[in-house]
């Protein structure tokens, strides 16, 4: 009888911990830097690294696509869009390529373990006045399936998530 009570108690403890864990995770999430109703994406810069123009364009376009897909911002403005000037709580995303390794799709498909394409990008979010509010280094890579440009899609998903987590007000908060 005593043993069954101990087993029941242990089960209850495990159940309590498993239920409590997601709550801790939510509490551990980074605090919102500042809310922004709109974001402007500037063209990807690659002054130090020689990046093929199709990668530069693909990074930029996928970034805008993912930000629009992720939602949360009322507007996603492009580089040079005059309408962004009138938005008070605008956040501007500056992206600079810090590293690039062009792999080979053929090598990936033939060997599986070689031919990885990788792009390292430094992302800086600034407010309308140019003051930096958040900086982060992100990486995009393609290791198995897909063409080399898929690395830009991988980066865009991560950057959109970063922007969403830090600048979009969660409903109910």
């Amino acid at each position: 009888m005593k043993t069954s009570i101990q087993v029941f108690g242990a089960c209850l403890l495990v159940l309590t911990i498993s239920l409590a864990t997601p709550k801790w995770r939510v509490q551990a999430a980074p605090p919102l830097v500042s809310k922004a109703s709109a974001i402007q994406v500037l063209m990807i810069q690659s002054d130090e690294i020689k990046l093929p123009v199709e990668f530069q364009i693909s990074l930029y376009e996928h970034l805008i696509q993912q930000l629009e897909k992720k939602g949360g911002f009322q507007h996603v403005y492009r580089d040079g869009d005059k309408n962004a000037a009138g938005v008070a709580d605008l956040v501007v995303l500056h992206s600079t390529v810090r590293g690039f390794k062009k792999g080979s799709e053929m090598a990936r498909q033939v060997t599986t373990v070689t031919g990885k394409t990788s792009i390292d990008v430094h992302c800086q979010f600034t407010d309308k006045d140019g003051k930096s509010v958040l900086e982060s280094d992100l990486n995009g890579k393609v290791m198995f399936f897909g063409g080399n440009l898929r690395a830009t899609f991988d980066f865009a998903k991560k950057a959109a998530k970063l922007a969403h987590d830090n600048f979009v007000a969660k409903s109910g908060s």
């Binding site: 063209m43 093929p52 123009v53 199709e54 530069q56 364009i57 693909s58 930029y60 376009e61 996928h62 696509q65 403005y77 492009r78 580089d79 040079g80 869009d81 005059k82 309408n83 799709e105 053929m106 498909q109 033939v110 399936f145 063409g147 440009l149």
Partner: protein, 177 residues
Amino acid sequence: MRWPSWKVSIGFRLLLFSALAVPSLAQQAADRVNVVHVVGLRGVKENAKGTLTVENGNLRFVDSKAKAVVATTAIEDVVTGNDSQRMIHGSVGTLTMFAPYGGGRFLSLFRSKLDTLTILYRDSDGGLYGAIFTMAVGKAEPLKKLLVVQGAHTSTPLQDSSSGSTPKTDAAREQKP
């Protein structure tokens, strides 16, 4: 036997007309290019197959579902490049990866070359767009020339078609014995 003068005149006119018509037909064939839209055109899906034409100061992409028009004067940069893709690509190509005895890997060795055309353009609000197209080898450079002739800008110099894919400088030509 002598030909009547009116017959000779008609014959000459026909010859002249056909001589003038041939270049214009060739021009039309060069203008319409089958392409794959990789990314960037507003309202057009990724990997949409269609045709690209340059006429009346516009770059026009048309596929079965969508149409996009960009004024050539709004194009800030045109860049050509090259790439390659698997001979068997798309969903079928992905499925071949599961072929037994490394058959899919073997098929990956067979690749076809591609030309890429990348354009940067602005909309009426000043927003910057970039679009990438892939097409058959040798099609991108003539398209770029047409765009530049009709008002597009480019950061890279046009290649001389007579010198082939690797243009030689005048100095290099002069050094030849």
